[in-house]
Amino acid sequence: MEFALIAQKFILIVVIFGISLLAAMYSTYAERKVAAFFQDRVGPNRAGPLGILQPLADGAKMFMKEEIIPTRANPFLFIVGPSLAIMTACIGSAVIPWGQQMVIGSTVVDLQVTDINVGVLYIFGVVSLGVYGIMIGGWASNNKYSLLGAIRAASQNISYEIAMGLSIIALLMITGTLSLRDITAQQHGFWNGHWFTWNVFKQPLGFLLFMVCAFAETNRSPFDLPECETELVGGYHTEYSSMKLGFYLFAEYINMFVSSAVMATLYFGGYNYPFMDVVNAHLGLTWGPLVGTLVLFIKIVAFIFFFMWVRWTIPRFRYDQLMDLGWKILIPLAIVNIVITGLIYNFK
């Protein structure tokens, strides 16, 4: 029995890991295609039909390139930086519920690696750890542009973490639990007879704040100041080459995938969709939950597209604007959101 459980979790972890990597790979392709679409270009179209093999070609290129470790760099930490970046990006998906419980034969399979009762905080912890990869890599490069990028990443991360935490507190006041599985189960279906069940309709301001902070935490444009190429050459990865650079770029896309999954789970109902009970009754308990998983992935893809849409639409912030937005707008708004949520919760 226990062995079966371990085998089950192992398969789930491998599948999720594979899907995250695949999603990240094709996000790089999608990013270039979306950019091309916004700028009225064609985009990559040489490798395979419609350029569909482009990520493989990019990956092969990254592996083949010469690996350079600068002479004055700290060789150990120089390698630790990108490793840490990609590791923290990958472990975030462990607590996300990917679907309802699936019944295969007589066994019940949880489509979630682990349901720790502090799931939301775990995600938060992993996010706060993510900056170390950038900081260590930036410092170990022994390059002033890398160091500036690292320092920017640190201060940006700290500033937006506070607003992110405060926006989650308002959400937790409604859900009353920190477990991601319970939070998703509470958003069952779409309409409960009185109001929409999805948290985005209960916490619109909270979702907006969370999303802005998620953009900042993943270092995506318009918050990509740590790698601002007009001021800092390449930012924290100026000195990196070959697959170590690839890991940094890849970590950003995995982060984007995981934060899209978190946003979909916390605010957009996760694997829930309208009329899911009808569908489940038709398809049974083996295939029904997989439709939910598919819906979750559609939501994730929509969020990833939104990330790219914003990147190719909104110009980068200036550094003081970034700090002003974080400290003077988002944090007060998040506190106001908590107060409003508390008032509504009390007088309902």
Binding site: L77, Y122, S128, V131, M135, I136, L147, I151, I158, L178
Partner: protein
């Protein structure tokens, strides 16, 4: 049988993690480069998080992870990277200071050794409820039984924050 195995695994895990905690704590002191010191301190805090998980205090573990590892140590690293300390800029201490610190450190060591010698091994405390450290329980205790100390400590933190903001903005009004 199974419970006994579990206890043995937990104990050996504890000893291993405790060893790592002490090792990393020593490396914080002995490493020459301040950035390495901070990185070792981060690892020390990480082993503390594992200790909390072993004690089934998940909330404390995650909060330690977020606050100490994720926020405070990032600021430490930030400041030390900005200062860019190295051997050349390090001021050389006078001989008197060196001798005084050796004597002081020796006294401290003697006191610690004496107190460790006097220490008896305490009986292990058995928790009445296993879920003592979980969020629900902790929240009830903090906002019920210990509400006053909780509020007082929050006031303390608030006043410290106001003080910090005041100090930070002082120079601007003069200039």
């Amino acid at each position: 049988m199974r419970a006994k195995d579990f206890v043995i695994i937990q104990m050996s895990l504890f000893y291993f993690i405790a060893f790592l905690s002490i090792l990393f704590a020593l490396l914080v002191i002995f490493s020459k480069n301040p950035v390495h010191s901070v990185l070792y301190l981060i690892l020390t805090f990480f082993t503390f998080t594992i200790h909390y998980i072993l004690l089934n205090a998940q909330f404390l573990a995650v909060v330690n992870f977020i606050v100490y590892m994720g926020a405070i140590m990032v600021l430490f690293l930030f400041v030390i990277m900005l200062l860019n300390l190295n051997k050349d800029t390090e001021p050389v201490k006078k001989a008197v200071v060196k001798i005084a610190s050796v004597v002081g450190g020796g006294c401290l060591l003697a006191t610690i050794v004496a107190s460790v010698k006097a220490l008896g091994i305490s009986e292990p405390v058995v928790l009445k409820t296993a879920d003592l450290g979980l969020v629900k329980h902790l929240g009830k205790v903090l906002f019920g039984e210990f509400l006053l100390p909780f509020e007082v400590s929050s006031l303390l933190l608030f006043s410290a924050m106001v003080g910090a903001v005041l100090l930070a903005t002082k120079d601007k009004s003069n200039a």
